[in-house]
Symmetry: C2
Subunit: 143 residues, 2 copies
Amino acid sequence: MESQDLRSAGLKVTGPRLKMLELLENTHGRHLTAEAIYRQLIEAGEEIGLATVYRVLTQFEAAGLVTRHHFEGGQAVFELERGPHHDHIVCIRCGRVEEFYDEAIEKRQRAIAEKLGFKLHDHTLTLYGECSRPGCQRQNSES
Amino acid sequence: MESQDLRSAGLKVTGPRLKMLELLENTHGRHLTAEAIYRQLIEAGEEIGLATVYRVLTQFEAAGLVTRHHFEGGQAVFELERGPHHDHIVCIRCGRVEEFYDEAIEKRQRAIAEKLGFKLHDHTLTLYGECSRPGCQRQNSES
DNA sequence: CTTTGAATTGAGAATGCTTGTCATTCCGTA
DNA sequence: TACGGAATGACAAGCATTCTCAATTCAAAG
C-alpha cells in the first residue's frame, strides 16, 4: 500500500499525497508535468491545489520517490523512481520519452570525472531525436 | 573582426551585437548567464537592455554562434560556439564548468538512438560533482 | 553624404512556471 | 476524543524570459 511508502519516507499520510502517488504509479512509464498531475486530479474530481502538487513533488523528490527532469521546454517533468538508474531519449516531435541504460556510458562518465578531479555526484544525459512511431505528430498536451 | 562573423551569420552589424560577441570572445572557456552578460556590459559603461541581451543571444543561438545550456538552477548559460562538440562537468559547490569530449560515449549514443528507432538530432550530457580546486567554495555570482 | 524603409533597440509590461504566505483543515499521538 | 504541529488551498509574489511599441540605428541607394 502506498501509505507505507509515504511513512517510510518520513512523510505524513495525507489525501493529496496518496492521490498523487497513486496517479504516478498508475501512469507507468510516463513523465508528467506538475500541471498535468494537477489537471488529472481535478478532472478525477479531487480537490487539490497546484501549489500542493508542486510542494508534494518537491518532497517526493527529496525523499527519493520521484525524479525531476528538465527536458527542453519550460516545464519540469516528474517520474516515479522505480528500479535502477536510467537516462532518456525524447522525441522532439511528439514528446514521447523512452528510457535506456548503458553501462559503457556510465563507466566512461566515472572515468572522465575522476580524470578531471571531480567527485561525481550525479549526471543528466538526454538524447533528442525523431521517433519512428506511426502516430508521431506534434501532439503535446496530455490530458 | 567580429563584424564579419555577424554578417556571415546573416545578422546586421549593430553595437549591442558587437559588444556581446566581444565579451563572449574575451571570456574564454566561460559560461555566462544573460544576466551576467548584461551586468558586465552595464559596468563597462555600455548602454544596453536586458531584453536585447536575451534577444541577441537567441539570434546567436539560431545562427549557431552560441550554445545555450540548462544546467541546474533556473538560469540558462550561454557559451560561444568554438571548435568541436563537447559535453560538460559542473562543480556543484563553486559552479566551475569543465568541458570534455569522449568518442566512446558519442558512439554509444548513436547506437542507442538507432536501436530505439530514433533519428538522433542532439543530446545533452552534464556531469555534476565536486571539483578539487583549492579555492572551491560556494562562490556564485560572477561579476 | 543625405535619404529612407526596415530592422533593431530599450524600457517596462506581460508571461509562464514555480515558490511563498497565511488562515483553515487535517493527521496522529496522548 | 482533544490537541499541537504539519499540511493544505487560494492567491500573491518571485524569477527568468519574452513581448510590445515608440524611438533609434543600420545600410542600401540616390
